[in-house]
Symmetry: none
Subunit: 235 residues, 2 copies
């Protein structure tokens, strides 16, 4: 099974076999994902159409349409603060089963440790195994951990949410009613985001949301968020 | 209030404004949490009542009852086939966080082992801890494991669903639109229910439903189901 990167495009970006990438998509593919000339990736239009594409310089070339039955019709990036212990293994495993596109581990003010490169390899292996077990067509991308402030500046999706356990924010389920295409959801560590982190995220365009009235562990919250997003897209 | 320590008590421990703590509770408050004379904490009886209490020496003093907002307005029974290994610990922990009312472990045709009584004690302790951590007012009930055929005959709710990974069944999210009051949801083991089990359940009034197009592990499926039910009730 291929571990291909995935981007969401507007159908009008395709002209015959040419895929005209936006500056944001070029930045994402070349800088964030470090794709190189000739690398293959998947272009999806957010409404169920998929194409295998190839990076030629800074533009895309459509190779063939793909038939996909077990993938969500949207792109979901989970930005998640690294929890203590081995909790992140479960986050990667469960969220892969639930259809996540990209997992971006972030170091937050309350994250204790910077993980070793071995950890990243381990998470990628878990994602690959979980993708196979759940009969997905693609393996989600696991990015290298970066600081939260770096991560929030690198993403440009229109649908960006940050989960906050305390405070009177709308439930994720209610905001999902108006959602399609691409979504980025940020979930904090044990103890939650600091006030400052929340403030920075909101200023950067993230909408604060709630996952319900109970306090969820850092490992449970991403699974809940993915469950709700996947169910909304598939039904 | 949210920052106060919480302990689960039996209502008979309260006499007027006196709260008689057990040696375990004294140990937890004084040694584990290092509470001091005069410190406030929350006592909850596991059936919806919360009190603000204060530590006086090694005993508690009830100060006032508290209003509880973290419980779901419905009753959810999760009937779940015991998975392999320690997976059930995670099911109990996560589903308690998500607001489950009762967990009924069942032995299915593909369940390998009958768990020891120590396991049941362990799950009840996990449920109690998870209820405290997630700030619930109720500790969910964990029933003793019984055969699947026994369990399905013991339940009489009008809303009964059985999850099945294969087959073209409606998504849980769609059937939840017509739901209120009380729900029973049955989730199978690794490898799924046998055809015979599914048939028996359907004959007994269970409606087969899907949790999405990917194959979920036995540990993930209950968390997904609870996420969807909880979000539907709370929004």
């Amino acid at each position: 099974m291929s571990q291909l990167q995935r981007i969401t495009i507007d159908p009008c970006q395709i002209q015959e076999t040419q895929l005209f990438l936006t500056p944001q998509q070029q930045h994402y593919l070349l800088r964030v994902l470090r794709s190189r000339d000739g690398d293959k990736f998947i272009a999806m239009d957010g409404i169920g159409n998929w194409w295998l594409a190839q990076l030629i310089g800074e533009q895309g070339q459509i190779l063939e349409p793909l038939e996909v039955k077990t993938e969500l019709p949207v792109s979901i990036t989970l930005m998640v603060a690294l929890p203590k212990g081995n909790g992140f293994d479960d986050v990667v495993r469960c969220c892969t089963e639930l259809g996540v596109t990209c997992i971006a581990p972030v170091l937050s003010d309350r994250t204790l440790l910077n993980p070793s490169p071995q950890k990243l390899e381990r998470w990628r292996r878990i994602a690959s195994e979980a993708a196979e077990q759940s009969e997905r067509a693609f393996v989600p991308t696991i990015l290298e951990p970066v600081a939260f402030s770096t991560a929030i500046n690198e993403c440009a999706s229109t649908h960006r949410y940050i989960c906050e356990a305390r405070g009177d924010y709308p439930h994720l389920r209610t905001v999902l009613n108006k959602f399609s295409g691409e979504i980025i959801i940020a979930i904090g560590p044990e103890g939650g985001w600091t006030d400052q982190e929340l403030e920075i995220a909101i200023k950067s365009g993230f909408e604060p949301i709630s996952l319900g009235r109970r306090i969820l562990r850092a490992v449970t919250a991403p699974i809940v968020a993915l469950s709700l997003i996947a169910a909304t897209c598939e039904v």
